[in-house]
Symmetry: none
Subunit: 124 residues, 4 copies
Amino acid sequence: MLINLDFESKEPIYQQLVDRIIEGIAKKELKPGEGLPSVRSLASDIGINLHTVNKAYQLLKQDEFILIHRQKGVVINPDGIPKADDMYIDQLRRNLKPLIAESICREVTEDDFLKICSEIYKTF
Amino acid sequence: MLINLDFESKEPIYQQLVDRIIEGIAKKELKPGEGLPSVRSLASDIGINLHTVNKAYQLLKQDEFILIHRQKGVVINPDGIPKADDMYIDQLRRNLKPLIAESICREVTEDDFLKICSEIYKTF
Amino acid sequence: MLINLDFESKEPIYQQLVDRIIEGIAKKELKPGEGLPSVRSLASDIGINLHTVNKAYQLLKQDEFILIHRQKGVVINPDGIPKADDMYIDQLRRNLKPLIAESICREVTEDDFLKICSEIYKTF
Amino acid sequence: MLINLDFESKEPIYQQLVDRIIEGIAKKELKPGEGLPSVRSLASDIGINLHTVNKAYQLLKQDEFILIHRQKGVVINPDGIPKADDMYIDQLRRNLKPLIAESICREVTEDDFLKICSEIYKTF
DNA sequence: GTGGTCTAGACCACG
DNA sequence: GTGGTCTAGACCACA
């Protein structure tokens, strides 16, 4: 699995890293129980700071995407990722709302928007 | 039009302000050619610094949602908001991708996701 | 002579007005000795503030483009516009420099640039 | 590279700063990929507020002269400056027009004007 | 009274 | 230590 970061983006590197890993899980490139590189090795591979990788891992752990074992190291949650609950759906709504609002202003129809989402779904 | 900000949020105030105004346009509560409050009055209304409002206005101006008219002050772009172009759609895709990736991990089906988007569309 | 102003421009209205009048003189649409509308009538014609027109006229008077007679009103300098002196040429250089610098960065060749200037000269 | 500002000028400091940096790029004193001082250090060097420097940097970033790299800091766009497009040429025309109009009024011939431009080109 | 500019000082997120 | 955000207060240009 290849991780592509944009150092010129406004998006923090640790957040990009989180997103890439979640995408890897969504694409089944990373499977439950599978190991992830250690903080140190990943950091040096990508050429970023150790703390940055650590922050990404902590966030993923917090949302139970990964587990951090003292001995086995970092692994994708073997029990699978927690299902969406109401809180997640709420947060998703809040994130989607401004995207949809701007799309409406720019005359992207609901059909167009859904089609775009659908296309992205297919890429996973 | 009522503007509701969350001062505890991680989202910068100026960005929330931008989002609220775009939502107002999407909901037709703000119509092309309509005037917006001056930076000073809006700032004092909301209870924030005028520079924060100004930054929001500058961003909206940059994307041609509003324009600064030397006589009328700040107005919603009377020619309407620029239609979505390829660049906007690309950016939209990049924004949607991580949301969809996480949703897939959390077993939100494509249908569920589209339904949520559809519901949000209806609120405008 | 038609005066076209852009109220959404960053350029102050009085400056735009000055520029339009100078262009009128350059195009010989306004000839030495010819009268200009009074501050009041011009202001109401264009739909701008009286002080704005006045400021434009004062600037033009300062550079001897126009004379302001108590009785004859405002007239294009009958003795013609003062020729370029060293000070004017210096100022012109200072104004051109940043335009040329940016053009160089954007790979506009000297020939291209001169051609553009030449074209503009032809429009007068 | 030395930066010379005129604090008495009507031209805003941030704009002068932008102009100086663009001139530096035009003169190849600043090369693509090269780093620029941080807002703080440049501000204290020049003796101005860091926000003023920041505004200049933001404008340069917007026109893709520079980019803000999360690791390298502020750097001249390593891909080079975007070439002139129709929009830039139009804007250039609009900027040149009043300069040429006044020059015509002051009997600066086309040849003289082109010669001045040519001289400025040679200084880069 | 409006927006534009500049300063000063503070806190935070990031790497 | 970096840029990003926010506040506060000031002066000016503009209309």
